[in-house]
Symmetry: D2
């Protein structure tokens, strides 16, 4: 049984759209349109327990997962979706011990995901030019508990990469094609390059730069996820769906 | 520079459809329709290097990734695709240290993926009723180098789960709904249940069992990936694509 | 040059989301948040002309197409989308002279489409149990100018079909499987049955009823349409899309 | 009851993949791997009847639909799919009486579809530069019975359009953007332009030409159709699907 301790993060779950990420802090209160919940009342209870608001509405006190944290970040800035993150992990071969160059940092969502998987002895070098994003990302990464596995760098990836012999370079930035030659130099001899881009023109320029530079197995995908309403006699995909986030492009360095 | 050593695994890459997973073994030869390559000639060269076959055709000697191994397994039995594996990883919150119950083992592809991510201190308990699958899986998991993180069990998940307080239960089997109550008991208080099923009837029965048993945030997705042909003036999705592999269903335990 | 006459229908087009279907009627005025337009000012001008509102904003006076009328109906009740209507037309082989049984009438959108294509010598027999829908449909069909090709019937298709030797039966109703035997009897010897259903359970029951009754080439499809934002340097699918409207099932009668 | 007459076209249906389009001609025989069928034995029987081959295998004698003819043409050259044809019909507002410019003719499949819907008093002016395609198309259009509604023209649409005041221009050719100004001149004041293109670069050039020339409501779509295997307990989309045929672009002329 995992118990909620003082200052534990807790996800108070009302329904699939209304989830509140809070801290079990003494003296703090969560106010919702379904009544308030005193957060110190959570301390000492097991995760998964039902708690009741002042309006007698039930919430469940879940232990937040990485995905919960990432989705909370998504409220503020556009982040890469879990579906795309999953493909990035699988195609880049990032795992425990990997050294990864990544950028732009943005709110740190993709950084946080990668850092969670390079643990306990890998490192993510995350580049960002905007000071305010770096501050937000630092806060977010500390909250997820992976700040030790990240080096936040105020620098522009299109100007060069300081690291070398890295396992992967992962980009979510407007001009990935300008980073391609730097990525080639920074990567290990068969390292992986990955790029996420919303527009097809970005993809075309990036793929052409990759082919010129010395990448093979250059592949571009788009990943569509549909959610279903499942209930005997009423099963069907949801009406509205996210039809596009971005294209994913991958390639592996070889020695030219 | 990573160097190919004696007995290193090497992926000899001709093009995106013709990739050969070999061992740099003394005295062995790879025969292809583009000529043969003496495999001991690879030893001592860096990964990523070009090698030339007896018919003077160039191959690239890549270092195999987890995905390469998984895709080789896929040739023999139907495995879950990388796109689905990525979503499973993200939604189950499986990472370094996780303890996971999984089944059916099959060829061990999903087992291998999960084991790679629970390293270095987690464990995958993989259930399978067919002896021959267990043998194949053992061989595959040894090759990937993750056998130490897996407990292969000849047992039927629909009859019960021996482990307790596990972080996740991940199923790819014909009757997942029969495992739902056992999964509930085996999981930690807010652990995650995941199931992959090809048919919608399996989904409906599983979702209804989950709702009855005590899971919330029960969600079903399907994930479609399209590959693009990218080339200035000729950019378009590929004509034929995989339109369906299976539906993914997730849910989190709560205390009823 | 087609000229706007008195009482012509006109589609005043501001942008892709703001289109006003009006009549060029003396004394009438269209009020919009971009100013008002006196509708009799349109009379005598050619279709396609620019007109300017009182706030000096330009609108284009288009001649409405069938799709424009159908989309206006869609605002009030859920109608089958053009993408699905297109497939229905192609698969049912409905054309000039066809005799078609259709139901439920609803707002008459699908009725209107079919009637437009059976002209000038075919007929659509449209069944509906709710009086108020029949009234709305009659108004809509008169507006499109196809009321002469439709017989509106207050009757329940699950209770039987009065027509015989029809070319096609087209359904958009909650229990299509109950109509299957009646459809078989009403159809010509190789006539086509078509059904639109939002849920997969409806599809399964309908398909099984069709197989039992004497239909072959029984096929179920879903049709997804994505809209693109096209602009050099910014080309991409739109973010949100309609992920599901319904499943389409078709089959052809044979003599059992 | 529709009876098979001498020289009627008949679709002999074995299963969804094996369908034979034949003529009920005296003295002719259909040879299949499931035995032979004497075609004059069909004469006098009703459509929809079962016939038995020399190997005692049952076939059904269906009356061919327009879609059956179109799909037979598709075997030889790449044609636009029914899903795309359906959208073209709906978006172009083509119906009885429409005058349409179309090209390239190719095998005449799209020509045949459009001609079937402009009957009985419309006309399709179909442009093609290659003599051999015109010959094939003529044969195909005669077979479908719509040759009277088509004017086949050996001419290049990028060089100009001879017709004027047409209702629609529909293109399936490599450089549609070169036809855009000619289409504008040939169309009625609010006529519709439609173009089918496999690559995104064709789309971008065409859309930009349309915006410059005087079209509004310029919209690009892609239409994906998935087929389902429906059977209680085994319902699922088919594994392989057509992931791409082409992009559809539409626009309406206005007076600039």
């Amino acid at each position: 049984m995992e118990i909620i301790e003082e200052n534990s993060d807790v996800l108070l779950y009302l329904d699939s759209r209304r989830k509140y990420l809070v801290k079990a802090k003494k003296g703090e209160v969560l106010h919702t349109h379904k009544g308030f919940i005193k957060l110190d009342s959570l301390i000492g209870k097991p995760f998964g327990v039902k708690v009741t608001s002042s309006m007698d509405v039930e919430f469940i006190a879940l232990k937040p997962t990485l995905k919960d944290y990432l989705q909370k970040m998504a409220r503020k800035t556009q982040i890469i979706y879990p579906k795309d993150m999953g493909l990035i992990l699988l195609y880049t071969n990032i795992g425990p011990g990997s050294r990864v160059v990544e950028g732009g940092t943005g709110s740190g969502a993709l950084t946080g995901l990668l850092a969670s998987y390079v643990k306990p002895n890998g490192k993510v070098y995350s580049y960002e030019t905007k000071e305010e994003f770096l501050k937000t990302a630092e806060k977010n990464l500390r909250r997820i508990g992976v700040l030790d596995f990240v080096v936040l760098k105020k620098a522009d990836l299109t100007q060069g990469i300081e690291e070398s012999e890295v396992d992967a370079v992962v980009l979510d930035m407007p001009t990935p094609w300008l980073v391609v030659p730097h990525a080639y130099n920074a990567l290990k001899n068969t390292g992986v390059f990955a790029s996420f881009s919303p527009t097809i023109e970005q993809v075309i320029r990036t793929v052409e730069a990759m082919r010129k530079t010395g990448f093979l197995e250059v592949e571009t995908f788009e990943c569509l996820v549909r959610k279903y309403q499942v209930e005997t006699g009423r099963t069907r995909p949801e009406t509205l769906t996210v039809g596009h986030t971005g294209y994913l492009t991958f390639g592996r360095k070889f020695l030219v």
